[in-house]
Chain length 353, copies 2
DNA sequence: ACAGTTTAGGCAAACGTTTGCCATGTTCAA
DNA sequence: TTGAACATGGCAAACGTTTGCCTAAACTGT
């Protein structure tokens, strides 16, 4: 036995492929066919004698056999692979979603491939194709954009879960929060702080997510303070940091600083904070921003930012549940996870709602 | 032909696998063998007549044929897959490394699988095995920990690039910065700021990276100010935020606040900042911290933190270069990328060195 | 004793590639 | 005219699985 292995390594040119023990290795050693080993390895114990089963199981354990997922994929759709498409990994919110999803998938035996689409439709398409040809069993698309291949995937009824931003073509499982209500909660918070001249900044092109947040905010303000003027400014798309900074500068150049601002993402609030710092405006005393996301770092270095916490840490579980339901054929709808306003003052102490 | 296809689809149970066009589809349609199509698709144009080549190329374009990477993997080690193993994706530094590496790999036609090892040896091992059995062509291990499977992989001479933290078993390609010099630069900065009672905080278990930074810092201080006492405190491992916070509290409880502190990672500096906020100590006026990493968010929300910028955005290119060299067989050594101190004062304006 | 059933397990196809080797047919030079 | 060289392209194995179907032999019941 030992000899055989050595000799094989010696006169074969390339390394024996993966170097892992395969069904064939076990089969040879046990003196049975590959089929038998495969069946036993998959728990079909009724098809072989007790003696054979014992022998094969012993060898499987001894040699540390593990079914090769590539062979399985090729055979038929059992790749145990799920692809997550996300715009920029740099965004801490994306990282949090990715981390929790990765853990949830691993817990059910799946491996996640994380693809950075840079928010570009062409890259989103490229990755959809690439992952399909790797037999990905499902797709998780965070902040999807409309793209031909996405539409094609939907037509083919491939399992796709949308996160954060709804399916641009409508329908399909969605994991997120109630964005309108989050906006409304932000409005309530600012009113409770005594704000009299509120404003909102946002990116020029509105995704469904941002639009809902902004509308929820404005509608609630109008409902509770009819006639109140809500100033609204946008900044260039792309990076939310730059966008928040630019929008804040436009906003304040044209009418001075508001005493309260909805920033529909924490990154935009950071942008506003920088603009304030440059102009010597004290945050949150002179202008009270409220963010949405509640980046984990806020507790550490942004004690001036009240923010609506989105439970990204729990997205993973919801996502894999939806994905499994979807693959099982049951119809899956929206999952709206609870959000919560986290109040902070500059002093540093956090007051949970 | 048509008939056959239909009949096949009719009495076969599962959907025809991936739904993508395969070599066989093209071959049937072109009336040639699979081998011929394969060769043409791979650019071996000398093995068929000009007419055949033209016909096949046309069909390949028309049907949008793309070689299936799973078939290729199975055939022999051409998976175009690289695995990155990283501890916690939450750390913004990891996210930056992952993002740049992903882009660099994509540019050369590779796909990256990102695995979160949570800094646990058992998960690191699990992922090494899983990725090997998916025929990953290389491994990028960020902040590696010692583990049996890693040692085994090294013995098998699998292509592994170490990032940020050196190979715990010694040797091998490494991408990072000159950590001793970074520590020394931090010392120079604090001295330039007129610091007289410096300190350093760090995690209780020292990785090679952190140890080098701390040693470089202390050695430089002793060299320039012989006899100067450098207070040194550690905090519990795990999360650098908590660690920095705990270490700062221990440090200040036992001897008051120092006027300058080396925090060997930005996250530890954030921990210290929180402790300072709770105790009403003004940063950086009363205590001047210097971090290492220079998180991108510093410019936005931590204008009080001078930090040594590590060019994570450029790690990707260096990593894939090393990986390719490694696979090509050339001996690859360490790559130390240039770092740079970024000076900041609370006011917000950044002064580049 | 004989048909029928169960037990134990092997065969081979299929998934999509790649590639060494073989088989024709044509062209060319001596 | 007869090899040799070249052009063109197919065959089949291999990678690692899974699974429908087949084949024996060994039982079971009457």
């Amino acid at each position: 036995m030992q000899m055989e292995g050595i000799v094989n390594n010696w006169h074969r040119e390339p390394a024996p492929s993966s170097g892992q023990t395969s069904l064939a290795d076990i089969a040879v050693e046990a003196g049975v066919s590959v089929s038998t080993v495969s069946r036993i390895a998959n728990g079909d114990l009724g098809r072989a004698s007790a003696a054979t089963v014992a022998k094969v199981q012993r060898l499987i354990a001894e040699r540390g056999y593990r079914p090769n997922p590539v062979g399985r994929s090729l055979r038929g759709g059992d790749s145990r692979l799920v692809a997550m498409l996300a715009p920029n990994l740099d965004n801490p919110a994306m990282a949090a979603i990715a981390a929790s999803t990765e853990a949830a998938l691993r817990a059910v035996g799946y491996v996640m491939i994380l693809c950075d689409t840079h928010d570009r439709p062409d890259l989103q398409d490229e990755y959809l194709r690439a992952m399909r040809s790797r037999f990905a069993e499902g797709f998780i698309v965070v902040s999807a954009v409309a793209s031909p291949e996405l539409e094609a995937s939907l037509d083919r009824r491939e399992p796709i879960v949308f996160v954060n931003r709804r399916n641009p073509y409508g329908g399909g499982p969605f994991i997120g929060i109630d964005n309108r209500r989050a906006g409304a909660d932000a409005a309530d918070h600012l009113l409770a702080c005594g704000v009299r001249a509120p404003a909102v900044i946002h990116p020029a092109e509105l995704s469904s997510t941002i639009r809902e947040r902004v509308e929820g905010f404005i509608d609630r303000l109008e409902e509770r303070r009819p006639g109140l003027c809500v100033r609204r400014y946008d900044g260039p798309g792309g990076n939310h940091l730059d966008c928040g900074y630019a929008a804040a500068k436009r906003l304040t150049a044209e009418g001075g600083w508001p005493d309260g601002v909805l920033c529909p993402s924490d990154l935009m609030a950071y942008g506003l904070f920088r603009a304030a710092g440059e102009q010597g405006v004290r945050i949150p005393d002179e202008c009270c921003p409220v963010g949405i996301d509640d980046n984990d770092l806020n507790d550490w270095i942004a004690p001036w930012l009240s923010s609506i916490k989105i439970p990204y840490r729990h997205f993973g579980d919801a996502i894999v549940t939806s994905l499994r339901d979807l693959r099982a054929g049951s119809s899956v709808g929206e999952v709206l996870l609870p959000h919560k306003l986290i109040r902070r003052r500059s002093g540093g102490e956090t007051i949970e709602n």
